[in-house]
């Protein structure tokens, strides 16, 4: 079984490489990381070491960019094969549906990891270039940014697979992916914000809001990175909320989401009739 998953992963990685997903993801991360490094340090001056400041701005960037790249890489996974007519053939092979999804997930996780690594590498270079040895203090936060981004990305890879199963066509899956990204990353926070303002410190703000925040993988990612390193909380308005929520909660959400999303994808795949 493992050989089949690895073979699927290898072939999927080749496809990602040739489709230039790898190059595009890495380029996007590096570009934004460099721009933010340059802009971020100018604004906050000497408050912390430069790398920590860069990481703080990267956190708010990764929240948007990592799920987007993950959905871009994954939306085609099942719908694309169905459209090319190879899904029936693949499923007729001695390869379970779970293994097929696992192979694709492994390959796309590697693609994502390379992109995030490129972004983090660029940030580290900028940090050390500007702060010299002082930047060493920021390495912990950078490492944390890397693996939490990867967990966030994995959750969205599997969500992309689930959408790919639900939509019959790749174009439909792409539209749904954009919709999901908008809803979870952009509109969710706006909605919460509106609710908090309307509630004006009532039961929603104290009881529901912290959970609502933790339940969204993107917000959990932001909260955890802010809460875990005190030095990073300069850049976001969420710092107030972050201090009131125990660190383990967003961490648990970040760890659980990839698992839940993978199960969702597997369940959706079960309903697909090639």
């Amino acid at each position: 079984m493992l050989n089949r998953i690895l073979s699927t992963a290898e072939i999927e990685f080749r496809i990602a490489l040739r489709n230039r997903w790898v190059a595009m993801g890495a380029a996007m991360m590096v570009l934004f990381s460099l721009v933010l490094s340059a802009a971020g340090t100018g604004a906050t001056g000497v408050a912390a070491d430069p790398l920590s400041v860069i990481v703080a701005s990267l956190v708010s960037l990764a929240v948007y960019l990592v799920p987007l790249i993950a959905l871009l890489v994954s939306f085609d996974a099942v719908a694309g094969e169905a459209e090319r007519g190879t899904l029936a053939l693949t499923l007729a092979y001695p390869l379970s549906r779970g293994s097929l999804l696992a192979g694709k997930l492994v390959a796309q996780t590697v693609v994502l990891a390379l992109a995030i690594l490129a972004g983090c590498g660029a940030a580290a270079l900028m940090g050390f270039a500007m702060g010299g040895r002082e930047a060493v203090q920021g390495l912990g936060a950078l490492g944390r940014l890397f693996w939490t981004s990867l967990l966030l990305g994995m959750a969205f890879l599997s969500l992309g697979h689930a959408l790919s199963c639900l939509a019959r066509r790749a174009s439909g899956a792409a539209a749904m992916a954009i919709g999901l990204w908008l809803a979870v990353i952009v509109l969710y926070d706006l909605g919460l914000l509106a609710a908090v303002v309307a509630d004006d410190g009532g039961a929603f703000t104290t009881r529901v809001f912290p959970y609502a925040l933790v339940l969204n993988p993107a917000d959990a990612f932001r909260l955890f990175n802010l809460a875990a390193s005190q030095s990073v909380d300069a850049a976001s308005g969420l710092s107030g909320a972050a201090s009131s929520i125990a660190v383990w909660k967003p961490l648990a959400a970040l760890l659980l989401w990839p698992v839940v999303a993978a199960l969702l994808a597997r369940l959706s795949f079960e309903r697909v009739q090639p």
Partner: protein, 296 residues
């Protein structure tokens, strides 16, 4: 030995029967052709046999195992209709992957490509292949690991005549080794010589089954006699063959047992006739007759 057995197989889509009470067997080494119009249920039948679709009634048995089970998948090869592998991959990469999925050594890919005549194109990307080349890659993956059952959906579509001949030679070789073959095709005439048995599906029902000779006898299709009279005596010839119709070339049907009578009548009018031809009903005529009957 029976490799594939279907018993009263029924499959419905939204209440409409795509397969209606279909039963047949395919033995080891037997080549069975599945005929039918588009939408007659051929692909549905194949996908049910592969375990990709769940039947609403009846059962399928693949070498003693349930369709879609690990054993059934391991012994079954499939060539889907119009399958196009990812355009970014080369033929060799795709076949190596297919081999690994079937637990076979990946280095066999080159030999397989050689076998289907694609050795030269092994390192080209799938996107640059012609339709015939794609079909041959599909065929190559179906040859992996000496399958006991081969399900081929329109395997010769897009192949040129020489490739078709090669394909049927491969099929003969496989059948000789004991592989049971179930294939669908639109190219009726080429099936005549190349298959052991024909199954005709119409609107999900199995309306005819047997060898070509059996089906021919059963359908009782008449021969068609075609006569080209000399231009100046057209009217005279028409009078001699009052049952004939047509402009220029006269045609009339003739039952098998009346063949010699027709021949002697033609011989008597030999001075008036430029040419004649007796046309035996082909598979196309037979198929048209059977599917008409099935639809009625």
């Amino acid at each position: 030995m029976t490799i594939l057995m279907l018993c009263n197989l029924t499959k419905r889509y939204d209440g409409r029967a795509a397969l209606d009470d279909v039963s047949f067997r395919v033995a080891a080494g037997e080549r069975v052709a599945l005929l039918g119009h588009n939408g007659a249920g051929k692909s549905t039948l194949m996908k049910t046999v592969l375990g990709l679709l769940m039947p609403d009634g009846g059962s399928v048995d693949v070498a003693g195992h349930a369709p879609g089970s690990a054993v059934a998948r391991a012994v079954t090869a499939y060539l889907p209709e119009n399958a196009a592998f990812h355009p970014a991959l080369t033929g060799r990469e795709m076949l190596r992957h297919c081999l690994r999925l079937r637990g076979q050594p990946a280095h066999q890919a080159d030999a397989l490509l050689e076998k289907v005549g694609l050795a030269d194109a092994a390192d080209r990307r799938f996107g640059s292949y012609s339709k015939g080349m794609r079909q041959r890659v599909g065929l190559a993956q179906a040859l992996i690991g000496a399958p006991r059952l081969m399900i081929l959906d329109e395997p010769t579509s897009g192949l040129d005549p020489i490739s078709r001949r090669d394909f049927y030679a491969l099929l003969d070789e496989l059948a000789g080794q004991g592989t049971a073959v179930l294939m669908s095709s639109h190219a009726l005439s080429e099936l005549e010589a190349r298959t052991d048995r024909l199954l005709v599906l119409s609107k999900g029902r199995l309306v005819a089954e047997g060898t070509l000779a059996q089906l021919r006898a059963e359908a009782q299709l008449p021969l068609e006699v075609r006569i080209t009279p000399r231009r100046d005596v057209d009217g005279t010839v028409r009078a001699l063959f009052p049952e004939a119709s047509g402009e220029g070339v006269l045609r009339f049907p003739c039952a098998l047992r009346d063949k010699l009578d027709a021949l002697s009548r033609i011989a008597q009018a030999r001075d008036l006739i430029v040419d004649f031809d007796i046309h035996a009903p082909g598979l196309d005529d037979l198929y048209a007759r059977i599917s008409q009957r099935g639809a009625a």
